[in-house]
């Protein structure tokens, strides 16, 4: 699975996710990536793209959850990502990337590593795999 989240200079957020799914999957199987609110979500507040165990991400409506705890619990972006990864996956394993309309970027994962990269207009840039 691959994904990208962006907030532009106007503060507009967007998210995109694409995948081949699971190796040796049954034909016809649909995972979290195409499900709005599960693998992908964007609103006025943030943009989120998820990857990992599709069934856990779907059950946790993971991408929408980040926006919800920002809206209703007033959490900042990284706190929202950490809260969702910690509290919404049950025994599942997943990772996600997110941006906020104020130009923040964040990511989180509870499995063994995640291929990710992020950058901000102030010059911050990071590419990583492990913790």
């Amino acid at each position: 699975t691959v994904g990208c989240v962006v907030v532009d200079r106007e503060g507009r957020c967007a998210a995109a996710t694409s995948t081949g799914g699971l190796m040796n999957k049954m034909t016809g199987r649909i995972g979290d990536s195409p499900m709005i609110g599960a693998g992908t979500y964007a609103c006025e507040v943030c943009g989120v793209s998820c990857t990992g165990e599709g069934e856990a991400i779907i059950r946790g409506t993971l991408a929408r959850e980040v926006a919800a705890v920002m809206e209703y619990k007033g959490l900042g972006l990284q706190d929202a990502v950490d809260f969702v990864i910690k509290n919404r996956l049950d025994e599942g394993f997943a990772g996600l990337i997110a941006v906020s309309n104020t130009g923040e970027v964040a990511y989180g994962f509870n499995c063994n590593g995640m291929f990710r990269g992020c950058a901000c207009e102030d010059g911050f840039m990071e590419v990583g795999i492990w913790e």
């Binding site: 699975t1 691959v2 990208c4 989240v5 962006v6 907030v7 106007e10 503060g11 507009r12 967007a14 998210a15 995109a16 694409s18 995948t19 081949g20 799914g21 699971l22 190796m23 040796n24 999957k25 034909t27 016809g28 199987r29 990536s33 195409p34 693998g39 979500y41 964007a42 609103c43 507040v45 943030c46 943009g47 990857t51 990992g52 165990e53 599709g54 025994e91 394993f93 997943a94 990337i97 941006v99 906020s100 104020t102 130009g103 923040e104 970027v105 499995c111 063994n112 590593g113 291929f115 990710r116 990269g117 992020c118 950058a119 901000c120 207009e121 102030d122 840039m125 590419v127 795999i129």
Partner: protein, 193 residues
């Protein structure tokens, strides 16, 4: 109002025995697509255009599990899916079950922009792709020799197999003994996306 920001991912749950040269390849691809997005943002491109541009690039490179290099079904074919969402007005588009569309994310964008729906799947999505004139290729285009080998491993292990298309047989079987477990299965014998 802050400035622009961007993040990309190539999948979560990575083989602990990932060979260093493959780690380097992954980092180079992530850096390349990140820079592609950054230069677009510096040219004032909109967020929705940048996420589509970056994911198209990731779909075209066979390294990660999407587009060319996608994981294979039990029948050895490729079935792809994608979605895109624009935070402004929360517009969205999604597709599933694609077998011939070269860049699934662009079809998802067309579902969002050019159809009255938000999700099209399987033959309906393929019909829409032909109507919209997007680039179509044979299913073989998406299948890589590495993934054919990975599918063979998965079938021999009688399970769904991790899709990071890195381990050769020995690292995969070695990794199967790894202590890491995911949903009751050794991490490398499990298949998150």
């Amino acid at each position: 109002m802050g400035g622009w920001a961007i993040a990309v991912h190539g999948g979560a749950g990575v083989d602990p025995n990932l060979p260093p040269q493959r780690q380097q390849q992954a980092k180079e691809l992530l850096t390349r697509v990140l820079n592609l997005g950054i230069s677009s943002l510096r040219s004032n491109a909109s967020a929705i255009d940048v996420v589509e541009l970056v994911v198209r690039e990731l779909e075209t490179d066979p390294l990660f599990n999407s587009g060319r290099g996608s994981a294979l079904t039990e029948k050895g074919t490729v079935e792809m899916e994608a979605s895109i969402m624009d935070g402004t007005k929360r517009r969205c588009g999604a597709v599933s079950g694609l077998t011939t569309v070269k860049n699934p994310i662009s079809l998802a964008r067309l579902v969002m922009d050019k159809s009255p729906h938000s999700y099209l799947a399987f033959s309906g999505a393929e019909d829409f792709a032909r109507q919209q004139g997007v680039e179509l290729v044979e299913n073989e285009y998406f299948i890589t020799p590495e993934n054919v080998g990975m599918l063979k491993l998965a079938k021999e292990a009688n399970t769904i197999l991790f899709d990071y298309r890195i381990p050769t047989y020995d690292t995969c079987s070695a990794a199967i003994e790894s202590p890491l477990v995911m949903n009751g299965l050794p991490i490398n014998v499990y298949a998150p996306e």
